[in-house]
Amino acid sequence: MKITKIVSAAAVSVVMAASMVMSASAATTAEVAAAAKANGVQDYNVQQLSNFLEANEKAFTDAQRDDMISTLNETGKIVDGYVAEGKDKATLTEEERTALFKSMKEEDRQAIIKALTDLGDKVNVEVTTAKRGDGNGYDVSAKLKVPGDDSKTSSDGANSSKGGKSAVTPVNNDGKAPATGNSVDGSAAALIAGISIALAGAGIVVVSKKNKEN
């Protein structure tokens, strides 16, 4: 069975990334998260990124973490143009970071997404994105392929390896708290009720007309 890890919407942090030059020495998980934070990434994205990297620390090499920081630097150059004058990316509030993202042109967002996708290929992560209906951002999901795994499903677990097998689903990172109430779709019921009224009304009118004629 294909065993995959899926990065939660931590990957969406790259959408908000701005540049910050980090040293080229071997980076740690904490440094990658710190770089994301310092580059204007929203807190919850940074936390998701940190959680994922920490839980799967063995799945990434130091060189791959360096690549992550390099990508943050590159995409940060795109975001630089949207930071207000006199503001420091590292100290932006959550609201400012959200507003910054919303102010970005779509082509710039796509450039960042492409960089994210390319990064994913480099670090053995499959990244997919989908634009949210409200236009406030992108839902991002990523799957970390375990080395040696293939696309076919097998039941013998032959592709299993120590340390780092997991399969998770993407988390919709839309910045909204999960919907935790009960939901009932009444549109179908309302439609049926409306049709019933219309048919019944028409039938009554026809019958009464016929009765009058006779």
Binding site: M1, I3, I6, S8, A10, D43, Y44, N45, V46, Q47, Q48, N51, E54, A55, N56, E57, E94, G157, S160, K162, G163, G164, K165, S166, A167, V168, T169, V171, N172, N173, G175, K176, A177, P178, A179, T180, G181, N182, S183, V184, G186, A189, A190, I192, A193, G194, I195, S196, I197, A198, L199, A200, G201, G203, I204, V207, K210, N211, N214
Partner: protein, 252 residues
């Protein structure tokens, strides 16, 4: 003659007309009540649709047989059954005044059973906590928000739950109530400090808090009624104690 003919024609016409009248009357007698019934049904359905939507969660809570604790042996649908535990020893500095100490954490896979929540003061006992907050996970229990810290680490932990099932009693929680959150590697005890109602996009009460231990329990808030809402009720808790458990770290 012509008068007779005319009378005959009229009689035939009257006969024919009388026959069709009978048929029409019969149809009317049979059909009209059904048409009236359909009309009234449609009106009532439209009028009662909103009230029904409001009370349906209550009906589900009482009559829905699926609202039960999941089987303990249930395997996460998000990964294969033979995944190894992701256990690791890490350094945690619980307090600035203390030195970092080594503790063992079992990192949950998405969809896994992560821990158990208890708030005995309102009868919330053994609420299962799962890793993740997708809708299918929230059907099984409370969900640990992946954008909050791992349970046991320093910072804010955020849990979400449906207001008509697992977190039904959450609005009854009062300041000073004790909340315990237990996993296989740590038991966290919190005390309720405050509550807040906020918009679903507002992260004031769910954002990370580096260096400070907090717990936020969140659910939909619909002015005290069950049902969907764009607002959330957050129960805000501070840490009282953290008790680490002995966990065997697998040899590599």
């Amino acid at each position: 003659m012509s008068e007779r003919k005319s009378a005959k024609t009229e009689h035939a016409h009257h006969h024919k007309h009388s026959k069709s009248n009978k048929v029409l009357r019969t149809v009317s007698f049979v059909l009209t009540p059904f048409l009236l019934l359909l009309f009234v049904f449609g009106l009532f359905s439209l009028a009662l649709l909103k009230p029904y939507n409001n009370i349906k969660p209550y009906l589900d809570t009482v009559f829905n047989p699926e609202n039960t604790l999941p089987d303990e042996g249930q395997i996460s649908i998000y990964h294969s059954d033979d995944l190894e535990l992701n256990v690791r020893e890490i350094e945690i500095q619980e307090d600035e005044t203390k030195d970092p100490e080594k503790h063992t954490i079992i990192y949950p896979y998405y969809g896994d059973r992560y821990g158990t929540l208890n708030i005995e003061s309102v009868g919330m006992k053994d609420i299962p906590v799962y890793c993740g907050t997708t809708l299918d996970i929230l059907e099984l229990g409370a969900g640990w928000d992946y954008s909050s810290v791992f349970i046991g680490k320093v910072g804010r932990v955020v849990l979400w739950g449906h207001n008509h099932t697992w977190f039904y009693m959450l609005p009854q929680v009062q300041n000073g109530d004790i909340v315990t959150l237990e996993t296989d590697y740590v038991k966290m005890t919190y005390i309720v400090k405050d509550r807040a109602v906020f918009h679903e996009t507002d992260r004031t009460y769910t954002h990370t808090t580096p260096g400070e231990d907090h717990l936020t329990l969140g659910t939909c808030w619909n002015n005290g009624m069950l049902g969907m809402s764009v607002y959330r009720l957050g129960i805000l808790c501070d840490l009282v104690s953290r008790e680490w458990k002995e966990v065997e770290v697998p040899q590599e």
